[in-house]
Subunit: 328 residues, 2 copies
């Protein structure tokens, strides 16, 4: 089963556009139960279910249209050289949707999140592209099929199709047709995410190869899939009951456990900077002093604080550089 | 099976001293394959075998004699109040050896290592005490029995009975009579350990409770005992063939994996300070640039560098505060 077979299953053979421009926005998302390890690398099938919160209006706006001569990709208004890795990754993905080998796309992508700042722009990027293609070609697809198409672009993009809390089912099928994301029907207007950007440097090891290295070399990875399934259930329960303390504990423990699997890899994979550890200790001290604040981290050095509206001002005092996101 | 039954098995019933003063020195040791997790907390039986290097003349010198009225403990020449936790821990241990309930000990202990600096003083402390008691009472015990007596005082003390590289067998018996340490017959005069003391503050969570918390709450701990057994064998092989690169890789990976099991515990147990992480990155950079240097860490924030004599000067340049230990 490869990507083109999945696309054929979902949209049939590629058709011509039904309008001049397809447009869409997709939010980036932060996983509270992490996607870490694949059972199929070709079509991004995960070993464990994951759960995320979409970042409101932080994300990617994409406009896609047909082009005469060649694929043209613009990122934040700037034309990208065809050799740019972002362009080549998009082109490979767009190959799946060309009505004929000689049709080309023009893609305008606007991110309002700092690229590579630990807020995944590939998640919202691929989700917005799929939504824009759906608009351009008039597929009128169900959301779970859009989620699958986004997933084959970038795993975590499957979740960026939706707002709010989102679950991504690991699935069991080899063709991955049961591995899609769905939204949870809970609105939690008091929920906040605070991003602390400690470094915007490009990571030495991307999350794709980090996952692979960990799965192949870390003797602790064996404990991960069960832990993630357990956390996935606890988080759904916490969200349903709006139990912030449970949500916080499980999210922080899940993120740290993911990082621990990497620290047990060889060569060791440590995304943390000294400042990451300084912030962890500061958060733990605040929590010991009675402030209900937790954190999560993706495969990078940056922390994302999890808290409720009532705690926002005390946290802004303690972390003056924190940017607050209101997901609902 | 409790401690007193073990002592009875080894020395019979307590006897009177054969001389006025028993004297001994025992080196502290650093585990390259860590002791992390107990199968029996009462008599310190480990879940996995471990392997260490003794720290040459860094350790504890102990003189023990009988006392008229009460136990008296002197640490580095200073009389300790009977309520001091070090004194009470020693007294409980000495209860095992009193010829009668009304006999008391005077213990003079001199450590030439900074207490609580991440160089275990309890390892050399209990080993030196057992050796001094052996001298005082004229037990003439075999070394493996001395190792067992040291083990019931403090697990890692079982290894401090010996110089050089030392293996501690996990054993399988419930009475722990097969859980003792033995020296490896390899001298490696070029082998060096560099200690970097980043903090001498007393740890918030001691290794005894850290082990327990990790075993009970970390979903990654399940991968540890097998990993440790695997590393234990690889390290013996590396030492036998004086394969420094293998020794370094396995030791560093083992230490990081132990820390990773703690990071996966709840509440998270992170002994690292920002400076610990800064030093890790520095060591990895040096290694990438071609310098064969690795590190190990115990349950604390301090790093111990592992290298060979030929690399000493370049490392002293890079780590001006490093103290170099020559184990052979």
């Amino acid at each position: 089963m490869d990507k083109s077979q999945i696309v054929t299953k979902i949209i049939g053979s590629p058709k011509n556009p039904v309008k001049e421009k397809g447009r869409a926005f997709a939010p980036t998302n932060i996983a509270l139960c992490k996607y870490w390890g694949k059972r199929n690398e070709k079509i991004n099938l995960p070993l464990n279910p994951s759960l995320s919160i979409s970042m409101g209006d932080l994300g990617t706006k994409t406009v896609v249209s047909m082009s005469d001569k060649e694929d043209q990709v613009f990122l934040n208004g700037e034309y990208l050289d065809p050799s740019n890795s972002f362009t080549t990754r998009l082109q490979t993905y767009l190959d799946l949707y060309r009505p004929s080998p000689n049709t080309f796309f023009q893609v305008h992508t606007e991110n309002n999140i700092p690229t590579a700042a630990g807020l995944a722009s590939s998640a919202s990027g691929f989700a917005a592209l799929v939504l824009a293609l759906n608009d351009l070609f008039g597929w009128n697809l169900e959301q779970r099929n859009l989620s699958i198409l986004a997933r084959i672009g970038s795993g975590s993009a499957s979740r960026s199709i939706y707002e709010g809390f989102v679950t991504w089912h690991a699935g069991e099928r080899e063709d991955g047709m049961d591995s899609y994301a769905e939204p949870l029907e809970v609105r939690w207007p008091e929920f906040r995410v605070g991003t602390l950007t400690l470094s915007t440097e490009q990571k030495k090891v991307g999350s794709r190869s980090g996952m692979r290295l960990t799965k192949e070399t870390s003797s602790l990875y064996q404990g991960w899939p069960d832990k993630a399934r357990f956390d996935f259930n606890l988080l759904q329960e916490a969200i349903t009951h709006k139990d912030f303390s449970q949500l916080g504990r499980v999210s922080e423990g899940n993120a740290l456990t993911m990082h621990a699997t990497m620290i047990g890899a060889w060569p060791p994979l440590l995304y943390w900077l000294p400042e990451s550890v300084a912030h962890m200790h500061k958060i733990w001290e605040l929590r010991e002093s009675g402030v209900p604040v937790y954190f999560t981290m993706d495969a990078g050095p940056n922390l994302k604080l999890l808290f409720l509206a009532e705690t926002q001002s005390i946290l802004e005092e303690n972390f003056p550089k924190m940017k607050v996101v209101v997901p609902f």
